[in-house]
Protein backbone atom coordinates (compact mmCIF):
# COMPACT_ATOMS: atom_id res chain seq x y z
CA UNK A 1 0.00 0.00 0.00
CA UNK A 2 2.09 2.85 -1.31
CA UNK A 3 1.00 6.42 -1.73
CA UNK A 4 3.07 9.15 -3.31
CA UNK A 5 1.49 12.40 -2.22
CA UNK A 6 2.14 14.42 -5.38
CA UNK A 7 1.01 11.63 -7.69
CA UNK A 8 -2.05 10.94 -5.62
CA UNK A 9 -3.05 14.57 -5.09
CA UNK A 10 -2.67 15.24 -8.80
CA UNK A 11 -5.31 12.64 -9.50
CA UNK A 12 -7.62 14.13 -6.87
CA UNK A 13 -7.02 17.58 -8.29
CA UNK A 14 -7.75 16.36 -11.79
CA UNK A 15 -10.97 14.73 -10.69
CA UNK A 16 -12.14 17.86 -8.88
CA UNK A 17 -11.09 20.16 -11.73
CA UNK A 18 -12.97 17.97 -14.19
CA UNK A 19 -16.35 18.46 -12.55
CA UNK A 20 -15.86 22.09 -11.55
CA UNK A 21 -15.14 22.94 -15.21
CA UNK A 22 -18.65 21.79 -16.03
CA UNK A 23 -20.24 23.06 -12.81
CA UNK A 24 -23.54 23.99 -14.45
CA UNK A 25 -24.14 20.37 -15.23
CA UNK A 26 -22.45 18.79 -12.21
CA UNK A 27 -23.42 21.10 -9.36
CA UNK A 28 -26.25 23.45 -10.30
CA UNK A 29 -28.43 21.00 -12.21
CA UNK A 30 -28.63 18.56 -9.26
CA UNK A 31 -29.38 21.46 -6.92
CA UNK A 32 -32.37 22.46 -8.97
CA UNK A 33 -33.97 19.03 -8.75
CA UNK A 34 -33.39 18.79 -4.99
CA UNK A 35 -34.68 22.34 -4.58
CA UNK A 36 -37.88 21.29 -6.36
CA UNK A 37 -38.33 18.35 -3.99
CA UNK A 38 -37.96 20.70 -1.04
CA UNK A 39 -40.54 23.12 -2.38
CA UNK A 40 -43.01 20.39 -3.25
CA UNK A 41 -42.72 18.50 0.02
CA UNK A 42 -42.70 21.50 2.28
CA UNK A 43 -45.91 22.89 0.76
CA UNK A 44 -47.82 19.73 -0.10
CA UNK A 45 -47.31 17.87 3.16
CA UNK A 46 -47.25 20.78 5.56
CA UNK A 47 -49.43 19.03 8.12
CA UNK A 48 -48.30 15.47 7.63
CA UNK A 49 -46.82 13.56 10.54
CA UNK A 50 -44.49 10.58 10.43
CA UNK A 51 -45.60 7.79 12.75
CA UNK A 52 -43.27 7.51 15.74
CA UNK A 53 -41.40 10.72 14.93
CA UNK A 54 -42.47 13.85 16.71
CA UNK A 55 -41.10 16.19 14.07
CA UNK A 56 -42.60 18.04 11.11
CA UNK A 57 -42.49 16.09 7.88
CA UNK A 58 -40.06 18.55 6.29
CA UNK A 59 -37.53 17.98 9.08
CA UNK A 60 -37.96 14.26 8.53
CA UNK A 61 -37.26 14.30 4.80
CA UNK A 62 -34.47 16.91 4.68
CA UNK A 63 -31.80 14.41 5.81
CA UNK A 64 -33.15 11.97 3.22
CA UNK A 65 -32.98 14.53 0.43
CA UNK A 66 -29.48 15.55 1.41
CA UNK A 67 -28.53 11.88 1.27
CA UNK A 68 -30.04 11.58 -2.17
CA UNK A 69 -27.91 14.46 -3.47
CA UNK A 70 -24.88 12.96 -1.85
CA UNK A 71 -25.49 9.52 -3.28
CA UNK A 72 -26.36 10.58 -6.79
CA UNK A 73 -23.57 13.07 -7.19
CA UNK A 74 -20.82 10.91 -5.74
CA UNK A 75 -21.90 8.10 -8.02
CA UNK A 76 -22.30 10.33 -11.06
CA UNK A 77 -18.85 11.83 -10.67
CA UNK A 78 -16.76 8.68 -10.60
CA UNK A 79 -18.88 6.75 -13.07
CA UNK A 80 -18.91 9.51 -15.67
CA UNK A 81 -15.24 10.30 -15.17
CA UNK A 82 -14.25 6.70 -15.84
CA UNK A 83 -16.59 5.96 -18.70
CA UNK A 84 -15.53 9.29 -20.22
CA UNK A 85 -11.87 8.38 -19.84
CA UNK A 86 -12.52 5.04 -21.51
CA UNK A 87 -14.51 6.69 -24.26
CA UNK A 88 -11.90 9.28 -25.18
CA UNK A 89 -9.00 6.95 -24.54
CA UNK A 90 -7.26 8.85 -21.77
CA UNK A 91 -7.81 5.91 -19.45
CA UNK A 92 -4.34 4.88 -20.62
CA UNK A 93 -2.91 7.96 -18.89
CA UNK A 94 -3.83 6.34 -15.60
CA UNK A 95 -2.24 3.07 -16.66
CA UNK A 96 0.99 4.54 -18.02
CA UNK A 97 1.55 6.75 -14.98
CA UNK A 98 3.10 5.29 -11.81
CA UNK A 99 -0.11 5.07 -9.79
CA UNK A 100 -0.41 2.31 -7.24
CA UNK A 101 -3.78 0.60 -7.33
CA UNK A 102 -4.85 2.01 -4.00
CA UNK A 103 -3.93 5.49 -5.23
CA UNK A 104 -6.23 5.03 -8.20
CA UNK A 105 -9.07 3.83 -5.95
CA UNK A 106 -8.68 6.59 -3.40
CA UNK A 107 -7.97 9.29 -5.98
CA UNK A 108 -11.13 8.71 -7.97
CA UNK A 109 -13.10 8.06 -4.77
CA UNK A 110 -12.12 11.35 -3.19
CA UNK A 111 -12.95 13.21 -6.39
CA UNK A 112 -16.46 11.79 -6.22
CA UNK A 113 -16.73 12.53 -2.51
CA UNK A 114 -15.80 16.17 -3.02
CA UNK A 115 -18.59 16.60 -5.55
CA UNK A 116 -21.11 14.65 -3.46
CA UNK A 117 -20.29 16.56 -0.29
CA UNK A 118 -20.29 19.88 -2.12
CA UNK A 119 -23.75 19.37 -3.57
CA UNK A 120 -25.02 17.95 -0.27
CA UNK A 121 -23.69 20.96 1.63
CA UNK A 122 -25.36 23.39 -0.70
CA UNK A 123 -28.56 21.33 -0.46
CA UNK A 124 -28.36 21.65 3.29
CA UNK A 125 -27.84 25.41 3.05
CA UNK A 126 -30.92 25.67 0.85
CA UNK A 127 -32.92 23.48 3.22
CA UNK A 128 -32.25 25.85 6.12
CA UNK A 129 -34.81 28.14 4.56
CA UNK A 130 -37.40 25.35 4.66
CA UNK A 131 -36.86 23.76 8.06
CA UNK A 132 -34.58 26.03 10.10
CA UNK A 133 -31.33 24.12 9.77
CA UNK A 134 -31.00 22.44 13.15
CA UNK A 135 -28.70 19.41 13.28
CA UNK A 136 -28.74 17.35 16.47
CA UNK A 137 -25.28 15.83 16.04
CA UNK A 138 -23.36 17.83 13.42
CA UNK A 139 -20.10 15.88 13.58
CA UNK A 140 -21.90 12.61 13.33
CA UNK A 141 -23.75 13.94 10.31
CA UNK A 142 -20.47 14.84 8.66
CA UNK A 143 -18.97 11.48 9.55
CA UNK A 144 -21.87 9.58 7.99
CA UNK A 145 -21.93 11.85 4.97
CA UNK A 146 -18.26 11.16 4.33
CA UNK A 147 -18.78 7.42 4.59
CA UNK A 148 -21.83 7.40 2.36
CA UNK A 149 -20.18 9.51 -0.32
CA UNK A 150 -17.18 7.18 -0.29
CA UNK A 151 -19.45 4.19 -0.79
CA UNK A 152 -21.22 5.65 -3.79
CA UNK A 153 -18.04 7.03 -5.28
CA UNK A 154 -16.62 3.53 -5.14
CA UNK A 155 -19.80 2.14 -6.56
CA UNK A 156 -19.50 4.65 -9.40
CA UNK A 157 -15.97 3.47 -10.11
CA UNK A 158 -17.23 -0.09 -10.47
CA UNK A 159 -20.01 1.07 -12.77
CA UNK A 160 -17.62 3.20 -14.84
CA UNK A 161 -15.14 0.36 -15.25
CA UNK A 162 -17.84 -2.13 -16.08
CA UNK A 163 -19.72 0.08 -18.53
CA UNK A 164 -18.80 -0.06 -22.17
CA UNK A 165 -21.09 2.77 -23.18
CA UNK A 166 -22.56 5.79 -21.46
CA UNK A 167 -25.93 4.00 -21.52
CA UNK A 168 -24.58 1.26 -19.31
CA UNK A 169 -23.99 3.72 -16.50
CA UNK A 170 -27.64 4.70 -16.53
CA UNK A 171 -28.57 1.03 -16.23
CA UNK A 172 -26.67 1.08 -12.97
CA UNK A 173 -28.36 4.18 -11.67
CA UNK A 174 -31.85 3.32 -12.94
CA UNK A 175 -31.87 -0.27 -11.76
CA UNK A 176 -29.86 -0.03 -8.56
CA UNK A 177 -29.22 3.42 -7.20
CA UNK A 178 -32.61 5.02 -7.76
CA UNK A 179 -34.79 2.11 -6.53
CA UNK A 180 -32.58 1.46 -3.52
CA UNK A 181 -32.61 5.13 -2.64
CA UNK A 182 -36.34 5.64 -3.08
CA UNK A 183 -37.09 2.47 -1.10
CA UNK A 184 -34.67 3.36 1.67
CA UNK A 185 -36.97 5.57 3.69
CA UNK A 186 -36.05 8.94 2.27
CA UNK A 187 -39.72 9.91 2.17
CA UNK A 188 -41.18 7.68 4.88
CA UNK A 189 -40.29 5.72 8.00
CA UNK A 190 -39.53 2.12 7.19
CA UNK A 191 -41.07 1.10 10.54
CA UNK A 192 -44.41 2.29 9.28
CA UNK A 193 -44.32 0.04 6.20
CA UNK A 194 -46.92 -2.74 6.13
CA UNK A 195 -45.97 -6.36 6.87
CA UNK A 196 -42.99 -7.87 5.17
CA UNK A 197 -41.85 -4.64 3.49
CA UNK A 198 -40.35 -3.24 6.64
CA UNK A 199 -38.19 -6.39 6.96
CA UNK A 200 -37.21 -6.37 3.27
CA UNK A 201 -35.94 -2.84 3.77
CA UNK A 202 -33.41 -4.17 6.25
CA UNK A 203 -31.55 -5.75 3.32
CA UNK A 204 -31.25 -2.41 1.61
CA UNK A 205 -27.90 -0.89 2.56
CA UNK A 206 -29.10 2.59 1.64
CA UNK A 207 -31.72 2.31 4.37
CA UNK A 208 -28.99 2.25 7.03
CA UNK A 209 -27.33 5.26 5.49
CA UNK A 210 -30.46 7.35 5.38
CA UNK A 211 -31.47 6.19 8.84
CA UNK A 212 -28.07 6.98 10.34
CA UNK A 213 -27.98 10.45 8.83
CA UNK A 214 -31.50 11.06 10.04
CA UNK A 215 -30.35 10.18 13.54
CA UNK A 216 -27.55 12.71 13.22
CA UNK A 217 -30.03 15.36 12.11
CA UNK A 218 -33.03 14.87 14.36
CA UNK A 219 -31.77 12.49 17.06
CA UNK A 220 -34.33 9.80 16.13
CA UNK A 221 -34.06 6.80 13.85
CA UNK A 222 -35.53 3.40 13.02
CA UNK A 223 -32.33 1.50 13.81
CA UNK A 224 -29.54 1.95 16.30
CA UNK A 225 -27.07 4.44 14.77
CA UNK A 226 -24.17 2.31 16.00
CA UNK A 227 -25.42 -0.67 14.07
CA UNK A 228 -25.97 1.46 10.99
CA UNK A 229 -22.47 2.86 11.33
CA UNK A 230 -21.09 -0.66 11.40
CA UNK A 231 -23.01 -1.66 8.28
CA UNK A 232 -21.97 1.45 6.41
CA UNK A 233 -18.33 1.27 7.43
CA UNK A 234 -18.05 -2.41 6.50
CA UNK A 235 -19.59 -1.72 3.12
CA UNK A 236 -17.15 1.11 2.45
CA UNK A 237 -14.15 -1.05 3.28
CA UNK A 238 -15.51 -3.94 1.25
CA UNK A 239 -16.02 -1.75 -1.82
CA UNK A 240 -12.59 -0.19 -1.46
CA UNK A 241 -11.02 -3.63 -1.54
CA UNK A 242 -13.06 -4.62 -4.58
CA UNK A 243 -12.24 -1.46 -6.50
CA UNK A 244 -8.54 -1.74 -5.74
CA UNK A 245 -8.63 -5.31 -6.94
CA UNK A 246 -10.38 -4.26 -10.17
CA UNK A 247 -7.66 -1.69 -10.83
CA UNK A 248 -5.03 -4.30 -10.11
CA UNK A 249 -6.37 -6.77 -12.65
CA UNK A 250 -7.11 -3.97 -15.11
CA UNK A 251 -10.75 -4.98 -15.28
CA UNK A 252 -12.04 -4.00 -18.72
CA UNK A 253 -9.25 -1.49 -19.22
CA UNK A 254 -6.25 -3.70 -19.98
CA UNK A 255 -6.43 -6.06 -22.91
Amino acid sequence: MTINSITFLSLVRREVARFTKVAIQTIFAPLISTGLYLIIFSYSFQNREVAGYGVPYISFIVPGLIMMSLIQNSFANTSSSLIGAKYNGIIIDFLLAPFSYIELSLGFMIGGMVRGLLVATVTYLVSIYFYGGAIAHPFLALFFAILVSSIFSLFGIIAGLWAEKFDHVSIFSNFFITPLTFLSGVFYSVKGLPGIWSEVSLFNPVFYMVDAVRFAFIGQSDMSPYFSALVIFSLAVFLLVIVTYLFKIGYKVKS
Binding site: L11, R13, A17, V22, N88, P98, K254, S255
Partner: protein
Protein backbone atom coordinates in the same frame (compact mmCIF):
# COMPACT_ATOMS: atom_id res chain seq x y z
CA UNK B 1 27.32 7.60 -18.68
CA UNK B 2 30.35 7.66 -16.45
CA UNK B 3 28.29 6.37 -13.59
CA UNK B 4 26.98 3.37 -15.49
CA UNK B 5 30.45 2.59 -16.81
CA UNK B 6 31.70 2.49 -13.27
CA UNK B 7 28.85 0.22 -12.21
CA UNK B 8 29.61 -2.09 -15.08
CA UNK B 9 33.23 -2.22 -13.94
CA UNK B 10 32.14 -3.10 -10.43
CA UNK B 11 29.47 -5.64 -11.22
CA UNK B 12 30.51 -6.81 -14.65
CA UNK B 13 26.81 -7.34 -15.19
CA UNK B 14 24.67 -6.07 -18.00
CA UNK B 15 21.80 -4.73 -15.98
CA UNK B 16 22.85 -1.15 -16.23
CA UNK B 17 23.69 -1.26 -19.89
CA UNK B 18 20.47 -3.00 -20.90
CA UNK B 19 17.55 -0.64 -21.07
CA UNK B 20 14.95 -3.27 -21.84
CA UNK B 21 15.15 -7.01 -21.67
CA UNK B 22 12.23 -8.98 -23.10
CA UNK B 23 12.11 -12.73 -22.52
CA UNK B 24 9.76 -15.32 -24.00
CA UNK B 25 6.76 -13.07 -24.29
CA UNK B 26 3.56 -14.62 -25.58
CA UNK B 27 0.25 -12.92 -26.03
CA UNK B 28 -2.89 -14.27 -27.59
CA UNK B 29 -6.17 -12.56 -28.34
CA UNK B 30 -8.58 -15.44 -28.58
CA UNK B 31 -7.27 -17.54 -31.46
CA UNK B 32 -4.82 -14.90 -32.61
CA UNK B 33 -1.21 -15.21 -31.53
CA UNK B 34 -0.35 -11.52 -31.36
CA UNK B 35 3.11 -12.15 -29.89
CA UNK B 36 4.92 -15.41 -30.35
CA UNK B 37 7.92 -16.07 -28.09
CA UNK B 38 9.37 -12.63 -28.35
CA UNK B 39 12.91 -12.09 -27.06
CA UNK B 40 14.67 -8.78 -27.39
CA UNK B 41 17.38 -6.76 -25.69
CA UNK B 42 17.60 -3.04 -26.14
CA UNK B 43 20.76 -1.35 -24.91
CA UNK B 44 20.88 1.81 -22.95
CA UNK B 45 21.39 4.84 -25.15
CA UNK B 46 20.39 3.08 -28.34
CA UNK B 47 18.17 4.50 -31.03
CA UNK B 48 16.22 1.34 -31.73
CA UNK B 49 13.75 0.71 -34.53
CA UNK B 50 10.86 -1.70 -34.19
CA UNK B 51 9.51 -2.28 -37.67
CA UNK B 52 6.90 -4.53 -39.16
CA UNK B 53 3.75 -4.50 -41.25
CA UNK B 54 0.31 -3.67 -39.82
CA UNK B 55 -0.69 -6.17 -37.20
CA UNK B 56 2.86 -7.45 -36.65
CA UNK B 57 2.53 -6.95 -32.91
CA UNK B 58 4.59 -3.80 -32.36
CA UNK B 59 1.97 -1.89 -30.41
CA UNK B 60 1.06 -4.99 -28.44
CA UNK B 61 4.68 -5.33 -27.35
CA UNK B 62 4.83 -1.66 -26.40
CA UNK B 63 1.53 -2.06 -24.55
CA UNK B 64 3.02 -4.82 -22.43
CA UNK B 65 5.97 -2.60 -21.63
CA UNK B 66 3.71 0.18 -20.38
CA UNK B 67 1.21 -2.02 -18.54
CA UNK B 68 -1.62 -1.48 -21.02
CA UNK B 69 -1.64 -5.08 -22.18
CA UNK B 70 -1.42 -8.20 -20.03
CA UNK B 71 1.12 -10.73 -21.27
CA UNK B 72 0.29 -14.42 -21.15
CA UNK B 73 3.83 -15.49 -20.29
CA UNK B 74 7.41 -14.31 -20.18
CA UNK B 75 8.95 -11.38 -18.43
CA UNK B 76 10.22 -7.92 -19.14
CA UNK B 77 12.69 -5.78 -17.25
CA UNK B 78 13.21 -2.07 -17.67
CA UNK B 79 16.60 -0.87 -16.45
CA UNK B 80 16.88 -4.11 -14.53
CA UNK B 81 13.48 -3.84 -12.83
CA UNK B 82 10.61 -6.19 -13.48
CA UNK B 83 7.65 -4.43 -15.07
CA UNK B 84 5.15 -6.27 -12.87
CA UNK B 85 6.92 -6.38 -9.53
CA UNK B 86 8.38 -2.89 -9.77
CA UNK B 87 5.77 -1.31 -11.99
CA UNK B 88 5.91 2.09 -10.35
CA UNK B 89 9.63 2.41 -10.98
CA UNK B 90 9.52 1.06 -14.51
CA UNK B 91 6.66 3.38 -15.42
CA UNK B 92 8.71 6.35 -14.27
CA UNK B 93 11.58 5.26 -16.51
CA UNK B 94 9.36 4.97 -19.55
CA UNK B 95 7.84 7.69 -21.67
CA UNK B 96 5.43 6.06 -24.07
CA UNK B 97 3.79 7.88 -26.95
CA UNK B 98 0.83 5.69 -27.86
CA UNK B 99 -0.20 5.15 -31.44
CA UNK B 100 -3.83 6.16 -30.90
CA UNK B 101 -4.52 9.85 -30.47
CA UNK B 102 -6.27 10.53 -27.19
CA UNK B 103 -6.96 13.76 -25.35
CA UNK B 104 -8.68 14.98 -22.24
CA UNK B 105 -11.29 17.47 -23.45
CA UNK B 106 -11.58 19.18 -20.07
CA UNK B 107 -8.08 20.65 -19.96
CA UNK B 108 -5.97 23.02 -22.01
CA UNK B 109 -2.64 21.95 -23.46
CA UNK B 110 -0.72 23.45 -20.55
CA UNK B 111 -3.09 22.06 -17.93
CA UNK B 112 -2.80 18.64 -19.53
CA UNK B 113 0.97 18.76 -19.22
CA UNK B 114 0.80 20.05 -15.64
CA UNK B 115 -1.58 17.30 -14.59
CA UNK B 116 0.57 14.75 -16.31
CA UNK B 117 3.69 16.00 -14.55
CA UNK B 118 1.82 15.61 -11.29
CA UNK B 119 0.90 12.01 -12.10
CA UNK B 120 4.61 11.32 -12.34
CA UNK B 121 5.24 12.99 -9.00
CA UNK B 122 6.62 16.26 -10.35
CA UNK B 123 5.46 19.57 -8.99
CA UNK B 124 6.11 22.94 -10.64
CA UNK B 125 7.34 21.54 -13.91
CA UNK B 126 6.97 24.80 -15.87
CA UNK B 127 10.50 24.83 -17.19
CA UNK B 128 10.24 21.39 -18.78
CA UNK B 129 6.72 22.11 -20.02
CA UNK B 130 7.85 25.30 -21.73
CA UNK B 131 10.79 23.50 -23.25
CA UNK B 132 8.50 20.83 -24.67
CA UNK B 133 5.90 23.28 -25.92
CA UNK B 134 8.68 25.11 -27.65
CA UNK B 135 10.35 22.05 -29.14
CA UNK B 136 7.04 20.75 -30.42
CA UNK B 137 5.85 24.16 -31.66
CA UNK B 138 2.85 24.22 -29.36
CA UNK B 139 3.69 27.36 -27.40
CA UNK B 140 1.01 29.45 -29.08
CA UNK B 141 -1.56 26.72 -28.42
CA UNK B 142 -0.74 26.31 -24.72
CA UNK B 143 -3.90 27.92 -23.40
CA UNK B 144 -6.46 26.32 -25.68
CA UNK B 145 -8.37 23.08 -25.37
CA UNK B 146 -7.27 20.03 -27.30
CA UNK B 147 -10.52 19.96 -29.30
CA UNK B 148 -9.26 23.06 -31.08
CA UNK B 149 -5.97 21.43 -32.07
CA UNK B 150 -5.39 19.92 -35.49
CA UNK B 151 -4.65 16.20 -35.78
CA UNK B 152 -0.90 16.73 -36.04
CA UNK B 153 -0.97 19.11 -33.07
CA UNK B 154 -2.83 16.54 -30.98
CA UNK B 155 -0.14 14.03 -31.78
CA UNK B 156 2.53 16.52 -30.73
CA UNK B 157 0.67 17.04 -27.46
CA UNK B 158 0.76 13.28 -26.99
CA UNK B 159 4.51 13.35 -27.46
CA UNK B 160 4.89 16.22 -24.99
CA UNK B 161 2.83 14.31 -22.42
CA UNK B 162 5.12 11.31 -22.67
CA UNK B 163 8.18 13.46 -22.05
CA UNK B 164 7.14 15.68 -19.13
CA UNK B 165 8.81 13.42 -16.59
CA UNK B 166 12.09 13.30 -18.47
CA UNK B 167 12.05 9.51 -18.90
CA UNK B 168 15.22 7.50 -19.48
CA UNK B 169 13.55 5.41 -22.17
CA UNK B 170 11.32 6.98 -24.78
CA UNK B 171 9.01 4.80 -26.81
CA UNK B 172 7.47 6.38 -29.87
CA UNK B 173 4.72 4.36 -31.52
CA UNK B 174 4.37 6.00 -34.92
CA UNK B 175 4.98 9.51 -33.66
CA UNK B 176 5.06 11.14 -37.07
CA UNK B 177 1.84 9.84 -38.56
CA UNK B 178 -0.03 12.95 -39.67
CA UNK B 179 2.73 15.38 -38.71
CA UNK B 180 3.89 17.70 -41.49
CA UNK B 181 7.42 17.59 -42.90
CA UNK B 182 8.75 20.68 -41.20
CA UNK B 183 7.53 19.66 -37.76
CA UNK B 184 8.64 16.13 -38.35
CA UNK B 185 12.15 17.42 -38.86
CA UNK B 186 12.04 19.55 -35.74
CA UNK B 187 10.65 16.60 -33.79
CA UNK B 188 13.52 14.41 -34.95
CA UNK B 189 16.00 17.09 -34.09
CA UNK B 190 14.63 17.14 -30.56
CA UNK B 191 14.59 13.36 -30.26
CA UNK B 192 18.14 13.02 -31.62
CA UNK B 193 19.19 15.56 -29.06
CA UNK B 194 17.59 13.48 -26.30
CA UNK B 195 19.36 10.43 -27.66
CA UNK B 196 22.67 12.29 -27.59
CA UNK B 197 22.01 13.06 -23.94
CA UNK B 198 21.94 9.33 -23.31
CA UNK B 199 18.24 8.59 -23.52
CA UNK B 200 17.21 5.32 -25.09
CA UNK B 201 14.81 5.74 -27.98
CA UNK B 202 12.52 3.05 -29.35
CA UNK B 203 10.70 3.92 -32.50
CA UNK B 204 8.07 2.27 -34.61
CA UNK B 205 7.26 3.79 -37.93
CA UNK B 206 6.03 2.86 -41.35
CA UNK B 207 8.28 5.50 -42.93
CA UNK B 208 11.26 3.27 -43.55
CA UNK B 209 13.54 6.09 -44.69
CA UNK B 210 12.93 7.65 -41.30
CA UNK B 211 14.04 4.49 -39.53
CA UNK B 212 16.98 4.11 -41.88
CA UNK B 213 18.15 7.61 -41.15
CA UNK B 214 17.70 7.47 -37.38
CA UNK B 215 18.10 3.99 -35.93
CA UNK B 216 21.28 2.26 -34.80
CA UNK B 217 19.70 -1.16 -34.55
CA UNK B 218 16.46 -2.49 -35.90
CA UNK B 219 14.16 -5.38 -35.11
CA UNK B 220 11.83 -6.52 -37.83
CA UNK B 221 8.62 -8.13 -36.66
CA UNK B 222 6.13 -10.14 -38.61
CA UNK B 223 3.03 -11.97 -37.41
CA UNK B 224 3.98 -11.73 -33.76
CA UNK B 225 7.54 -12.92 -34.22
CA UNK B 226 10.80 -11.05 -34.29
CA UNK B 227 12.25 -12.20 -37.57
CA UNK B 228 15.51 -10.29 -37.43
CA UNK B 229 17.46 -8.01 -35.10
CA UNK B 230 20.65 -6.39 -36.28
CA UNK B 231 22.42 -3.14 -36.85
CA UNK B 232 21.05 -1.10 -39.68
CA UNK B 233 24.29 -1.56 -41.68
CA UNK B 234 24.28 -5.34 -41.33
CA UNK B 235 20.65 -5.52 -42.33
CA UNK B 236 21.20 -3.48 -45.43
CA UNK B 237 24.41 -5.30 -46.34
CA UNK B 238 22.60 -8.58 -45.99
CA UNK B 239 20.83 -7.77 -49.19
CA UNK B 240 23.05 -8.22 -52.20
CA UNK B 241 21.51 -5.75 -54.55
CA UNK B 242 22.75 -2.90 -56.71
CA UNK B 243 20.58 -0.71 -58.82
CA UNK B 244 22.33 0.89 -61.79
CA UNK B 245 20.57 3.84 -63.43
CA UNK B 246 22.00 5.20 -66.63
CA UNK B 247 20.86 8.04 -68.83
CA UNK B 248 22.04 8.13 -72.44
CA UNK B 249 22.39 11.06 -74.82
CA UNK B 250 20.45 9.30 -77.58
CA UNK B 251 18.21 6.31 -77.78
CA UNK B 252 20.36 3.23 -77.67
CA UNK B 253 20.44 0.30 -80.08
CA UNK B 254 21.58 -3.23 -79.37
CA UNK B 255 21.58 -2.89 -75.62
CA UNK B 256 18.87 -5.50 -75.19
CA UNK B 257 20.93 -8.10 -76.98
CA UNK B 258 23.99 -7.31 -74.93
CA UNK B 259 22.11 -7.59 -71.64
CA UNK B 260 20.40 -10.91 -72.16
CA UNK B 261 19.79 -12.86 -68.95
CA UNK B 262 20.10 -9.66 -66.93
CA UNK B 263 17.25 -8.01 -65.08
CA UNK B 264 16.76 -4.57 -66.59
CA UNK B 265 14.14 -2.01 -67.44
CA UNK B 266 14.63 0.18 -70.51
CA UNK B 267 12.26 3.12 -70.89
CA UNK B 268 10.18 3.79 -73.98
CA UNK B 269 12.47 6.17 -75.83
CA UNK B 270 15.40 3.90 -74.96
CA UNK B 271 17.37 6.68 -73.28
CA UNK B 272 17.16 5.49 -69.71
CA UNK B 273 17.86 2.11 -68.21
CA UNK B 274 17.60 0.59 -64.72
CA UNK B 275 19.51 -2.60 -64.07
CA UNK B 276 19.13 -4.60 -60.89
CA UNK B 277 22.01 -6.87 -60.12
CA UNK B 278 24.15 -8.53 -57.48
CA UNK B 279 27.36 -6.85 -56.38
CA UNK B 280 29.61 -9.41 -58.08
CA UNK B 281 28.04 -8.81 -61.51
CA UNK B 282 28.53 -5.08 -61.39
CA UNK B 283 31.85 -5.19 -63.17
CA UNK B 284 30.62 -7.56 -65.89
CA UNK B 285 27.59 -5.40 -66.68
CA UNK B 286 29.45 -2.13 -66.81
CA UNK B 287 31.98 -3.66 -69.18
CA UNK B 288 29.21 -4.87 -71.47
CA UNK B 289 27.72 -1.40 -71.62
CA UNK B 290 31.10 0.11 -72.19
CA UNK B 291 31.62 -2.14 -75.16
CA UNK B 292 28.73 -0.47 -77.00
CA UNK B 293 30.47 2.87 -76.72
CA UNK B 294 27.32 4.86 -75.93
CA UNK B 295 27.20 8.50 -74.85
CA UNK B 296 26.35 8.48 -71.18
CA UNK B 297 24.80 11.66 -69.70
CA UNK B 298 24.36 10.48 -66.11
CA UNK B 299 24.88 7.37 -64.04
CA UNK B 300 23.87 6.34 -60.57
CA UNK B 301 24.49 3.17 -58.62
CA UNK B 302 22.32 2.61 -55.56
CA UNK B 303 22.74 0.05 -52.81
CA UNK B 304 19.95 -1.85 -51.11
CA UNK B 305 17.65 0.11 -48.83
CA UNK B 306 16.04 -0.80 -45.57
CA UNK B 307 12.85 -1.18 -47.54
CA UNK B 308 14.38 -4.08 -49.48
CA UNK B 309 15.28 -5.81 -46.23
CA UNK B 310 11.83 -5.16 -44.88
CA UNK B 311 10.12 -6.60 -47.93
CA UNK B 312 12.37 -9.62 -47.92
CA UNK B 313 11.78 -10.39 -44.24
CA UNK B 314 8.06 -9.79 -44.00
CA UNK B 315 5.28 -11.53 -45.78
CA UNK B 316 5.06 -8.78 -48.37
CA UNK B 317 7.91 -10.32 -50.36
CA UNK B 318 8.12 -14.04 -51.30
CA UNK B 319 8.14 -16.77 -48.74
CA UNK B 320 11.33 -16.41 -46.81
CA UNK B 321 10.64 -18.46 -43.73
Amino acid sequence: MVYSDRLRDIYGGDFVTTAIKIRDINKTYGELQALDDVNLDIKKGEFFGLLGPNGAGKSTLIGILGGLVKKDSGNVTVLGKDIIKNYRETKKSLGIVPQEITFDPYFTVRETLEIHSGYFGIKDNDQKIDELLNALSLSDKAEIGPRQLSGGMKRRLLIAKALVHDPEIIVLDEPTAGVDVELRNSLWEYVINLNNQGKTIILTTHYLEEAEALCDRIAIMNKGKIVKVDTKENLINSIDKKLIKIQFADSVQGLEDELQEINFDLNKDKREIEIETAKQDLDKILKKINRLNLDIVDMNIESAKLEDVFIKLTSLGGDDN
